[in-house]
Amino acid sequence: MPATDEVEAVAEQVFVALADPRRRGVLGVLAAGGPATATDLAIRLPITRQAIAKHLALLAEAGLVTAEHGERRRVRYRLQPAPMQLAQQFLTALTRDWDERLWALKDHLER
């Protein structure tokens, strides 16, 4: 089991990655359509190929995409969901809402 601060660093990178609408666009296209090259992404998104390359580098750094070397030296990028699932656990903790549940219990006991 990795150290807590290591886990938190992963989650922070995920949230930084998701803070940019263009990176959300890249992740959305990879999630919907599977692995794609930077050129494919530039065709499908209103972003220049240079900007896509920059965002893909940041996403790879965060562990959210990996580069695969395919035929004719084309590099395809693939979504990696594990860091996202980690960030999702943190979001889950924040949305558990025991306050509302315990109010419902209080109400139930009063009836």
């Binding site: 886990v7 699932q85 889950t92 903790a93 025991w98 315990l102 219990l105 209080k106 139930h108």
Partner: protein, 143 residues
């Protein structure tokens, strides 16, 4: 550390522990305040389930039954794929007080992450749909 591994809440209830215990551990109780309908096999390892009229459903496994002071169960982490084995542990503790019952709920395990998951994120592992589709192609080619 900015993110919690556990959540803890305490409420004072103007009812004796026995009544609170029933609300927490019977199908009638759970189905009234927690879910819209519930079933429970109240023993360690027993299964419990809550359903909501929205179509949501929660499956629990009873872990601890010390009537009328401690009731614990684990359940799946909402938002993760259903095949993900990680679960959080929820424990209710009932303490009798002059005015009724002090109830504490602790849900823990939010920051857990098995080694496998972690290495999968960074090893550039190419498992997943594409490799499964690749296997299908190999299988069809061999036929």
């Amino acid at each position: 550390m900015g993110f919690p591994d556990q959540i803890e809440r305490t409420v004072e209830l103007a009812h004796p522990p026995a009544k609170v215990w029933a609300a927490l551990t019977t199908a009638e109780g759970l189905g009234a305040w927690f879910g819209n309908k519930a079933t429970i096999d109240l023993r360690p390892g027993g299964a419990a389930e809550m359903t909501w009229t929205t179509g949501d459903r929660a499956e629990m496994r009873v872990e601890r039954v010390d009537e009328p002071t401690t009731f614990g169960f684990t359940w799946h982490i909402y938002g993760l794929p259903t095949e993900d084995p990680r679960r959080t542990y929820v424990e209710f503790t009932l303490v009798p007080v002059d005015t009724g019952t002090r109830l504490t709920v602790i849900e823990s395990g939010f920051a857990q992450l098995p080694d496998g998951e972690y290495s999968k994120a960074f090893a550039g592992n190419t498992e997943g749909w594409a490799s499964e589709l690749g296997e299908l192609v190999d299988y069809l080619d061999a036929a």
